[in-house]
């Protein structure tokens, strides 16, 4: 069946079976930044943002359920050729090793920071506890989210020439 949804602000029509998982539909649409890691809904690497405010495991949602909704993936984070503060912070803090978990971490952190713009270290660890990093680089992931939180709280423009 044909479904219409917005991915990263662009309206898309996708042809899917009812059983097609959102993760597969997104990747088949050419957006391969969203990874698939575990096949058991456990690892969170497939995390995308639904309607701006909620994080979902795209391997645990049928694409048909996203009809009429707005999905944001890692490809939608950078704006105008400039990395999103979360991406910049992961880069600055070495918040990745192999990078496989990174898109899911960033999307989950993006939602976390919307609900809690100034989280403590403990709150970051709690909020990201559904996302596994097989390289176990959690220390720097937490630091990256802390940096991003600071950057996002600075008035627009102030962060630019930092």
């Amino acid at each position: 069946m044909e479904i219409t949804l917005k991915i990263n602000g662009v309206e898309k029509k996708l042809n899917v079976e009812p059983r097609t998982l959102l993760a597969h539909a997104i990747r088949d649409a050419g957006l391969t930044g969203t990874h698939i890691g575990c096949d058991s809904s456990s690892c969170g690497v497939c995390t995308v943002v639904l309607d701006g405010k909620t994080a979902v495991k795209s391997c645990t949602m049928f694409a048909v359920m996203a009809e009429g909704h707005e999905i944001t993936t890692i490809e939608g984070m950078a704006q105008g050729g400039k990395l999103h503060p979360l991406q910049q912070a992961f880069y600055d803090q070495h918040g990745l090793q192999c990078g496989y978990c990174t898109p899911g971490m960033i999307m989950a952190a993006h939602v976390l920071l919307q609900h809690n713009p100034n989280p403590t270290e403990e709150e970051i660890r709690f909020g990201l506890s559904g996302n596994l990093c097989r390289c176990t680089g959690y220390q720097n992931i937490v630091k990256a989210v802390q940096q991003a939180a600071q950057m996002l709280q600075q008035p627009a423009g102030a962060a630019a020439d930092d």
């Binding site: 069946m1 079976e17 009812p18 059983r19 998982l21 096949d39 058991s40 809904s41 456990s42 969170g44 995390t47 639904l50 909620t54 994080a55 979902v56 495991k57 645990t60 949602m61 049928f62 048909v64 359920m65 009809e67 989950a108 939602v111 976390l112 609900h115 709690f126 909020g127 990201l128 506890s129 559904g130 996302n131």
Partner: protein
């Protein structure tokens, strides 16, 4: 893994949803958050031929107090409960549970009502609903009925929902100022089902004796269970450490866990006992009662 093919229905009204369910009977399954059903379908543990997606139904996302009950509509997600300030301050048991079900991402999709309908033998909400004496509202073609949680939870993965019916609401009694509760869960890691877990709720009389007690345990039997004898021991008594020990000991008489990677049967059984004790002590402490 890819689920088996199915026919997808996306009703836009409750009546339409019920009529799909009535037409397809037990071949049809309700699709709520999908956080239990979709994994089960991917493992081909479930192969429903029709899915009725209720996510677009209007007016099922409510979460409010009315007539002494917290009413949780069928589309209320775990995170709606987790982030709710009123629940955090007043519904101690529910608030505790909402922070340890699954993992934070799963909680954005999973629903409280869906979890109760799933009635997983290790489900967290079932134990809480037992301890808090919740009720379920079930809708069919000819109207709705209200059932106690004890009537509703029938067996592992089975409820009293009949053919052509769905659950529309869970109701939790609003705790008064002399009521508190707690949820104690042992898990190997975030996102794992409990090794053992206990939900408790206590209401005190003004004189400090226990007016009503609720104890639910999960992951240690074929389904979540009420520890009836433990509740009976507590009721009417002044809370003491000795009394709590005796009530918790009742767990061992009904828990019948399966040994698995999470632990031996004996370990789980004893942990369920310990967790009931801890939960009771925590609930009482929240009421400023320190037991000795």
């Amino acid at each position: 893994m890819i689920p088996a093919a199915f026919e997808y229905k996306r009703p836009m009204s409750l009546e339409e949803a019920i009529s799909h369910l009535a037409e397809h009977g037990y071949d049809a399954r309700v699709l709520a958050g999908g956080q239990s059903l979709i994994p089960a379908m991917r493992y081909r543990l479930a192969q429903p031929s029709v899915l009725v997606d209720i996510n677009k139904l209007p007016n099922l996302g409510y979460l409010h107090e009315e007539n002494g009950m917290l009413r949780i509509g069928a589309l209320v997600r775990d995170t709606d409960v987790e982030f709710n300030k009123n629940i955090q301050s007043k519904y101690h048991l529910i608030s505790d549970v909402s922070m340890v079900v699954a993992d934070p991402i799963v909680r954005f999709r999973g629903t409280v009502v869906g979890s109760l309908c799933h009635n997983d033998p290790s489900g967290d909400w079932a134990a809480a609903a037992i301890a808090a004496r919740a009720q379920m509202v079930i809708q069919g073609k000819n109207g709705s009925r209200v059932e106690s949680i004890d009537q509703f939870l029938v067996d592992s993965f089975a409820t009293s929902i009949g053919e052509g019916e769905m659950a529309v609401e869970a109701r939790f009694p609003t705790p008064n100022s002399l009521t508190s509760g707690a949820y104690e869960k042992i898990e190997r890691k975030v996102g794992d089902y409990a090794t053992a877990a206990a939900a408790v709720q206590i209401e005190l009389n003004p004189d400090g004796t226990i007016k009503e007690a609720g104890i639910g345990i999960t992951a240690v039997a074929h389904m979540a269970l009420r520890v009836v004898e433990g509740e009976n021991l507590l009721r009417g008594q002044k809370p003491t450490l000795e009394l709590i020990r005796a009530a918790a000991e009742e767990v061992r008489k009904i828990a019948d866990p399966n040994p698995d990677a999470r632990g031996s049967a004996e370990y789980k059984k004893d942990m369920a006992r310990v967790l009931v004790g801890r939960g009771l002590i925590k609930a009482l402490r929240r009421l400023n009662v320190v037991v000795a």
